[in-house]
């Protein structure tokens, strides 16, 4: 067994941390307060290689292992959830399906600008009537000669309605399988295609500096070559994408928990009450000790899941566990962090206030905590 990161992974962590602290921390409060997605900051993250991390260099990716990517997300999440969301969704949901399932032509066309961080791609799965129950989806694609015609809508789609958005992968019903289950196929739809409308969603409690979209498809006509992979592969592609995506949400939970913990520890050592630093009181010290212990557990479960994926071994159960544990852990740590900050923790001048809000998405996005428990319970034979 070896618990050490490689020299490369260690250096990536240090460099991304430095970037995050110098480029993201100073603007995070402002972007959150004004609910602003920053294309300039997103491009900067592209320049230092945070997009396309696990994609080969032939498509302008970084050609790294999955754990290096996860470390990248973790370090960004340590200072800001919104920017980590842009990276995690950009890689796992935007770039991932194109890279894993796309034809060579599709990869050559779309991956280079996405991997250079010059453009973003969305993954259209969730619908107003289909969240945890994917069976409730209503978006359809009907064949018309060589083309397909899409109708329907998607909601809560990250990175899909900003000036950098290049297109989206859309899961649609394309027929009925034997036994009456719907057949799903994924289509690539570029922005600017007639009948396709992407609208930013505002008024979010969390990830306020990330871009979230509502998508509308009204008689959107795309050629057959825009099918991602093969017809009927949509369901399988979605499941596999979400398995990988869970690791990046896990990294957001772990990184966010780490950031909240460090802020709480620092504050507790400075804040004086009853004549001494509040970190000396067991009521505070034990909270921080619990946080430190759970962070250790969380990092191990997440890295092990990545380790399995990097070795092409089954990792879906471990990914669900990592996603569930890390996201709920961040909830506990952010809660302690606000509590330790007292009144100041409730103020927007303090980053912990944002961490407390940003965490809530992690219990809900890319498979709710309940769905993760369902997945795990099925794997253990319940």
């Amino acid at each position: 067994m070896d618990f050490d990161l490689t020299r490369e992974q260690d250096m990536i962590r240090r460099e991304v941390r430095k970037f995050a602290e110098s480029e993201i921390t100073p603007v995070a409060l402002e972007l959150d307060a004004t609910e602003t997605f920053s294309p300039a900051l997103t491009r900067k993250m592209g320049e230092i290689g945070l997009f396309g991390m696990f994609v080969p260099e032939a498509y302008d990716g970084q050609g790294l292992d999955y754990i290096s990517y996860i470390i990248g997300v973790e370090e960004i999440a340590r200072v800001d959830g919104s920017q980590a969301a842009t990276i995690a969704a950009g890689n796992s949901l935007g770039i991932g399906p194109l890279y894993y399932f796309g034809t060579e032509e599709q990869k050559r066309r779309y991956l280079p600008p996405l991997c250079r961080g010059e453009a973003l791609w969305g993954f259209g799965l969730t619908e107003p009537t289909a969240g945890s129950d994917a069976g409730g989806s209503k978006t359809t694609a009907v064949r018309d000669g060589e083309d397909w015609v899409l109708n329907g809508s998607k909601i809560f789609i990250t990175n899909a309605a900003c000036e950098m958005s290049l297109g989206v992968t859309v899961q649609a019903i394309t027929g009925t399988r034997e036994g009456g289950r719907p057949e799903y196929t994924c289509f690539l739809v570029e922005h600017g295609t007639r009948g396709f409308k992407a609208q930013p969603m505002h008024g979010k409690m969390m990830w306020r500096a990330s871009n979230t979209a509502e998508l509308y498809f009204d008689e959107v006509r795309v050629p057959g070559k825009n099918i991602l992979g093969k017809r009927g592969d949509g369901f399988h592609q979605m499941l596999q994408t979400l398995d990988g995506g869970r690791l990046s949400i896990g990294a957001m939970g772990l990184g966010g928990a780490q950031g909240a913990y460090e802020m709480a520890l620092k504050y507790a050592r400075q804040r004086q009450q009853f004549g001494q630093a509040i970190s000396k009181f067991q009521a505070v010290a034990f909270k921080l000790a619990d946080c430190a212990m759970e962070l250790e557990c969380a990092r191990n479960v997440l890295y092990k899941a990545c380790w399995l994926k990097d070795r092409s071994r089954p990792f879906a159960k471990e990914a669900a566990m990592a996603k569930l544990y890390c996201s709920e852990l961040m909830g506990r740590v952010a809660n302690h962090a606000v509590q330790i900050h007292g009144g100041y923790g409730l103020m927007k001048d303090y980053h912990v206030e944002r961490f407390y809000r940003d965490q809530k998405l992690l219990d809900i996005g890319e498979g709710t905590s309940e769905i993760q428990r369902l997945v795990i319970s099925r794997y253990i034979g319940c």
Binding site: E8, I12, E15, I48, G49, Q62, G63, L64
Partner: protein
């Protein structure tokens, strides 16, 4: 154009922590970094490379672990890296260090040598200028701006209350301030390539044509007599007054202490 950048690996002093029990510095586990002034010098060289297709070699003297600093330089974009490492070089003061580096440099081709002004762990600011003296080339220190004009380097040198614009014919040596630029970030791909695809050339005592009297502890004319932590004086007093009253207040205190 051939540029050689001399760098030093130093402990990241921003990460230094105190032992909660003994109050002494905890060096264990402190990450090592490229000295900030040296890193600015490297960035300046890389910008010349971007502009004029210069070839950038990075050179360091240090223990085998200094390899990591050179990998970092390669990940940023340096073309070649040389590590001078040998037990015989250990314990060197600035004279022995600059002699050893100059000996290695004299066997290399260069138009421009860039070093940092000073290292954050020693703060002597002597090694750069000494290298220039050993090599018999012009030296401009404290560069806060640097550009190439024909066969010359034009440097804006920082001075206490002003700047000097100085020009030197190449080959020459410039010492860089960290204010010179914002060093670029390494990309993950650059980091992987630096470890996987690149080599660090290792030179030892046997590779240098230099007298034993100029290297390592034996070749060091200066000795550290004692290091100690400064005793903490009493706490300062904060007084909020306008400038005139403040001046009066200070004079009174100085008179009390019979300084005035």
């Amino acid at each position: 154009m051939k540029i050689i950048v001399c760098v030093k690996q130093v402990p990241d002093t921003t990460e230094v922590r105190l032992d909660p029990v003994t109050g002494t510095l905890l060096r264990e586990g402190i990450p090592s970094i490229i000295n900030p002034d040296d890193k600015a010098g490297l960035e300046a060289a890389l910008r010349l490379k971007d502009r004029y297709e210069a070839h950038v070699t990075v050179l360091t003297m240090g223990p085998p672990q200094a390899d990591l600093a050179l990998r970092e330089a390669l990940a940023m974009g340096a073309d070649a890296a040389i590590l001078l490492t040998d037990r015989a070089f250990g314990g060197a003061d600035t004279w022995a260090t600059s002699s050893t580096l100059a000996s290695a440099l004299s066997a290399l081709e260069y138009d421009l040598i860039i070093t940092g002004r000073q290292a954050i762990d020693g703060d002597t600011a002597q090694v750069g200028p000494q290298i220039a003296e050993h090599l018999g080339i012009p030296n401009i220190s404290y560069a806060e701006d640097l550009r190439i004009e024909g066969n010359t380097v034009v440097v804006r040198r920082q001075y206490e209350d002003r700047s000097h614009i100085l020009r030197a014919e190449m080959p020459c040596l410039v010492t860089a301030l960290s204010e010179l630029n914002e060093p670029r970030y390494m990309t993950p791909r650059g980091i992987f390539e630096a470890f996987r695809d690149r080599t660090v050339k290792i030179l030892t005592r046997a590779d240098l044509a230099i007298d034993d009297g100029n290297i390592g502890l034996k070749g060091s004319p200066t000795r550290v007599m004692k290091s100690f932590t400064k005793a903490v004086r009493g706490k300062g007093t904060v007084v909020e007054l306008d400038a005139r009253d403040a001046a009066g207040w200070i004079i009174e205190r100085l008179q009390e202490k019979f300084v005035l």
